[in-house]
Symmetry: C2
């Protein structure tokens, strides 16, 4: 049975399908519960959320479903970047015209802190004994992983290379999400290298690796004990079966759920997704300081590719007001429109209905191969 | 049966597996014949070859196999670029240190012409009635396509987007090779756009599209009558089955054959491939003026990403002597080392043996899904 994978056995779920966490609005308790109720693993991206909001979201999801679901957080960088006057000045100048277009003053509001303390966020996941805890942007601390696992929580984390996958498993992570270059939203890359000096095997020194190449490489590197979830460019049942053929234990889709009624996607964002065909996404650091894939729009074109943009989360916090104002004004041209290269597969159908359609597509392909 | 696709029926071949053309040395008559004899479609990339050499290669391949094979050529750009003093000076300065490292004079030898006349090349394919003619880098002229098809030749061409795939079919192309971002060697992209003004659906304005996302998009756009070959990041039986799940009618692998004894890959290139794990490939225009994916090496690092490098084939012809000297000196650091992101799958085994292993892998996956 194609549904019988190391991940569906580990979690006791019916379908090897995961919804992407999609922090910042799109993922909701309703979407996560709908995916989990349909037999998959629904996910909530809460990397930007306060402990109280995380607790409330966990409880809201539990009220909607008895099935397992994932709460996903962002691992902070080892050295927090400086939110200093130089960074503020740089972003201020970069987005000045865009802010004035939205009627905002040129002077940027500067927040007191760069992000919610990670330890406070993870404490909630431990206290609430979430079924699945997921991490992106880095290696979660080994003691946090151990505390979660002691609770019976299954720990996921995201890798974009073989070297990252190995680092995650070394810290106790149980399930690795292999994120290919096609994926929408932020890239999880955290191991870099300039190519000089001796290189640990699998350390990325080249371009982002596509899903087709990354998944078997990670599966082979991690061996029999670590289930792998494949993400990036997936759109429907064909993609789910494709990544299972590559050796993955589940397919993770995010963009495919962005137009569902359960998603928190705002209206101008939905309209832009409906008009997209997959040939217009770009990787850009323009919104947050971290490479992320989204639909090319006026903001991306105006800011351009700036290798010197202040690092995440500095640029993220300094552009928050602008992006919120764009959303409030119903404008898609000045907000981030995260989307993967499989965006043409995003359909305006309930999430559970999508999973049912994908299962039908898979069964039809297998039937065709049998005859 | 997974082997039964629109392409295997059209060509009367056994396996939906194509070897990539790989012009410039790696593809040989022996490799093409071995792949075709094993049930796939072997290919010879002869875009750089003279009419006499093309004729000889076709005859040599026919002497080795009775099965169908592909001869692949490069469609020239609509406006031939200038091989002028400015371009020569620019490349001369760019590679001066690398040339002196190889003992070559700084002054570049300037060839009389940029490329072999395309009409003379295609005339040979028509005269020799090749089983399959393939084209990359553009839309082949409709009258050439018609003349080939009148002969019973099946016409393939390469697309990197939905817009390109549609343009090829409009010119009479029968089979479209969808080349994902992971692919090694030159990218076939020929339709561009700056994103301004009205945009025809599928015209690329974003980053190169990965195989996982591109294949179903092209399959859906072209409909029931046009078989699609999937290329980019494929490495073994898992990848072949994955692209068939995506709706492709065959899988095209190139890098996977580079280490076979039948390939023309030079020794330092083979050694670099054997040491690669897939995390070190980059898209670069540094060797030819056209984006191509290969292993990062000293040449790539020295030349860097230059958006202003003279366009293909100007840079290509001006770096030919340097690359040949590097090969002759047994050096991998100053030659192009084209490789896709699935390079870790390249194995030093006969091509026919590889196809047999991939079939076994596919049967094992399908058996696992059945039980």
């Amino acid at each position: 049975m194609w549904q019988n994978t190391r991940l569906t056995r580990l979690l006791g779920i019916e379908l090897p399908i995961v919804s992407s966490p999609m922090a910042g609005g799109p993922s909701t308790s309703a979407l996560a519960a709908a995916v989990s109720d349909a037999g998959g693993l629904g996910s909530l991206g809460l990397g930007y959320s306060t402990p109280d909001d995380i607790r409330a979201a966990i409880r809201a999801t539990r009220a909607l479903t008895d099935a397992a679901f994932q709460i996903n957080l962002f691992v902070p960088p080892p050295e927090p970047p400086l939110l200093d006057a130089a960074a503020v000045g740089q972003v201020e100048e970069m987005v000045a015209e865009l802010r004035s277009d939205l009627g905002l003053p040129v002077r940027l509001p500067v927040p007191e802190r760069l992000s919610v303390p990670f330890a406070d966020q993870t404490a909630v996941l431990i206290e609430e004994r979430v079924p699945v805890a997921g991490f992106a942007f880095g290696v979660p601390p080994a003691d946090t992983v151990a505390a979660l696992r002691e609770n019976g929580t299954v720990v996921f984390a995201t890798a974009t290379s073989v070297a990252e996958a190995r680092a995650l498993v070394a810290a106790g992570v149980q399930v690795v999400t292999a994120q290919g270059a096609e994926a929408g939203g932020h890239r999880g890359q955290f191991v870099g290298g300039d190519g000089s000096g001796p290189r640990e095997e699998g350390t990325p020194v080249g371009d982002p690796i596509g899903t087709m190449a990354l998944v078997p490489a990670v599966v082979d590197a991690l061996g029999a004990d670590v289930p792998v979830v494949a993400a990036g460019g997936l759109r429907d049942g064909r993609s789910v079966l494709a990544v299972l053929a590559l050796g993955a234990d589940a397919a993770q889709l995010g963009t495919a759920f962005l137009r569902t009624p359960e998603a928190g996607t705002n209206e101008p964002y939905r309209a832009a997704l409906a008009a997209a065909d997959g040939s217009e996404t770009v990787l850009t650091t323009a919104f947050s300081g971290k490479p992320a894939r989204g639909l090319r729009n006026a903001y991306v074109d105006a800011v351009g590719v700036r290798p010197d943009v202040p690092p995440y989360p500095v640029t993220h916090v300094l552009t928050t007001e602008l992006r919120a104002a764009a959303r409030a004004a119903g404008r898609s041209d000045l907000q981030s429109l995260w989307a993967g290269q499989g965006v043409a597969g995003a359909r305006d159908l309930p999430a559970g209905r999508l999973l049912g359609l994908w299962v039908d597509e898979i069964e039809a392909i297998l039937e065709d191969w049998r005859s």
